[in-house]
């Protein structure tokens, strides 16, 4: 399927990445080439083949529901861009 500029803008919006207008054509070219490369897959018959999501086909390990970590809020928030009274600050969401 051929992509156009609007597709690139839509994908960038879904990914929440700002892309400069002047760079869209370059991304369009790159993405078109990459999708051309991966289209080779469509020639392969994969009917009845189980998708492989874990190389060892392992399942999610469960542990006992007990507290193993201590509260390190202050330490972890030291790397946050904006914090107040132990909360992460973001631009106003609700008026």
């Amino acid at each position: 399927m051929a992509l156009d500029r609007q597709d690139v803008e839509k994908i960038a919006h879904l990914a929440r990445i700002n892309i400069n207008q002047e760079d869209i054509n370059e991304y369009l070219g790159n993405l078109t080439n990459i999708l051309g490369l991966v289209d080779q897959m469509q020639r392969v018959d994969t009917q009845n083949i189980d998708p492989l999501s874990h190389p060892l086909d392992a399942i999610q390990r469960l542990r006992a529901d007990t507290i193993t970590e201590s509260n390190q809020r202050e330490q972890l928030q030291q790397v946050a861009p904006a914090v107040e009274e132990g909360l992460f600050l973001v631009p106003k969401v609700i008026d």
């Binding site: 597709d7 879904l14 700002n18 051309g36 897959m41 392969v44 994969t46 998708p51 790397v79 992460f88």
Partner: protein, 483 residues
């Protein structure tokens, strides 16, 4: 001193020929004097290194030393190191001081190893040339205009330039093996789940694995002995016993069955590289191995399958970089969406954005079956090829890369051309198998890597097969011109 292997340094430390403080200071001085040429380190942690060296000397004096005690090494800047910037080669994390240590770092600390610093890498481990780093490209010590490979290019360049005797790396599609091949080093990507990924910044979770980069197979075994093992904090960690990877290094190879996949010797392989690989295979025959031609028919499909699966998983993993809890946040966002979009637009480099976009597209509504599911089905076919082949042979050998180190800037204009460099390494990650690259010759003065692939959890065997080659040949002793 700088030409010594980890094994040799460990003996010298034990005998009291030199102290950890002396080795560590020598390496720090050398990094300070020489790394401008290579740009292999992002952060040098001189003060902490000297503190660790002092503690190591105390442990050695008290008789509490293990092999890695007092040995200085470098860590890829993808492993969280408490109190030290952990950037993943990205502007996004330029201001990120890790609040905790990765399990791998804890293990080296517990062995009283010394960390010299954090090495350069392709941003978020996405790249095959180390040209995608926010901190600039890394130069291959084997040629000033050549790439060292990627994404663990800083780790490889540091060891090849003798700015560290060994280093850690990660391998999602070849990021340990390919840089080792291009810089004449020995490295192993262990079986998926063998080394803990706790505190290792995620790229593609079903593929990522950590491993060592070293001068010899023996050193790689020493490093892997520290790194490997079950970790309850990593849900993908393998709960299996760990071998002593040094125990059977010297086991004779008589009767070893080596498979050569005909797909690894196809048109894209540089004929001079092919000659070196064939010569290495002859050497193995002289060591008593039997050679058998095999087929891995779906090899070519590893590129499209990988370049859907890895970007799809990356787009999901990298959604955590939202400018809220850590990492880059744009100036004066007008609202939440603006903050997400500009923080991510500014924080990520071009290749990372490309892969997030590809992955987002592949996972978007209506395309999942055609891309991600299809790639996972092909992944099953690729794995099945290996399982069938490894019923007939003990190990599989071939080239690590189609050609020696290419020039900086040679493949940056078209991402697809760069992706083709990974043809021989990707399938292993898709199958989750362990693989090594060891030096096996030079082409036009540039190193060639021999790839050795084994069955699940056969790291001990691979290291043995690599070590015996290095007992019989001297390729791994070659150092970059001028060293």
């Amino acid at each position: 001193m700088f030409s010594k292997t980890i094994a040799q340094l460990a003996i010298g430390l034990k005998k009291g020929e030199f102290s950890s403080c002396e080795i560590t200071q020598s390496y720090l001085d050398r990094i300070n004097a020489q790394d401008k040429k290579y740009n292999s380190y992002i952060t040098v942690t001189a003060e902490q290194a000297m503190q660790q060296a002092k503690a190591a000397d105390t442990a050695i004096a008290a008789g509490n030393a293990v092999t890695m005690t007092g040995i200085p090494i470098a860590h890829k800047d993808i492993f969280c190191t408490k109190g030290t910037r952990t950037s993943a080669g990205s502007k996004m994390l330029d201001n990120f001081i890790a609040p905790y240590d990765a399990t791998l770092i804890e293990k080296f600390n517990a062995a009283n190893s010394v960390s010299l610093g954090k090495t350069n890498m392709d941003e978020f481990a996405m790249g095959s040339s180390n040209e995608n780093s926010y901190y600039g490209a890394v130069t291959n010590p084997w040629g000033e205009n050549r790439v060292p490979g990627g994404s663990s290019g800083g780790s490889a360049a540091a060891v090849a330039a003798q700015l560290a005797p060994g280093a850690t790396g990660t391998d999602t599609g070849g990021s340990i093996r390919q840089p080792c091949a291009l810089t004449n080093l020995s490295g192993i990507k262990p079986t998926y789940g063998r080394v803990s990924r706790f505190g290792m910044i995620a790229f593609a979770s079903s593929l990522d694995q950590a491993g060592p980069i070293a001068k010899t197979a023996e050193d790689a075994a020493i490093l892997l002995n520290v790194m490997a093992g079950f970790d309850p904090r990593d849900s993908t960690s393998a709960d299996k016993p760990v071998s002593d990877y040094c125990a059977s290094l010297n086991q004779p190879l008589a009767g070893l069955k080596i498979g050569l996949p005909k797909e690894f010797f196809s048109a894209e392989l540089n004929p001079l590289v092919a000659e070196q690989i064939q010569a290495a295979v002859k050497e193995y025959q002289a060591l008593g191995a039997q050679i058998k031609e095999i087929s891995l028919p779906n090899t070519a499909l590893s590129i499209p399958a990988y370049y859907i699966i890895a970007p799809a998983e990356a787009s999901s993993n990298l959604s955590r970089f939202d400018g809220v809890r850590y990492g880059h946040r744009c100036e004066s966002p007008v609202d939440l969406e603006d903050m997400y979009k500009r923080s991510r637009g500014e924080g990520f480099g071009a290749e990372v954005k490309r892969r997030i976009l590809v992955g987002t597209y592949a996972l978007s509504e209506g395309f999942y079956d055609a891309y991600y599911k299809k790639a996972q089905q092909i992944r099953r076919l690729i794995q099945q090829d290996y399982i069938n082949a490894l019923k007939e042979v003990d190990v599989i050998m071939g080239p690590t890369t189609p050609q020696p180190a290419f020039k900086i800037g040679e493949k940056t204009s078209d991402p697809v051309e760069m992706y083709m460099e990974d043809i021989y390494t990707l399938s292993l990650n898709l199958a989750g198998l362990p693989g090594m690259s060891i030096p096996c010759g030079l082409v036009d003065g540039l190193p060639v890597g021999l790839q050795i692939i084994g069955n699940y959890f056969a790291e001990e065997r691979l290291l043995n097969v690599a070590h015996m080659f290095q007992q019989a040949t001297d390729w791994h002793k070659n150092t970059a011109p001028g060293l």
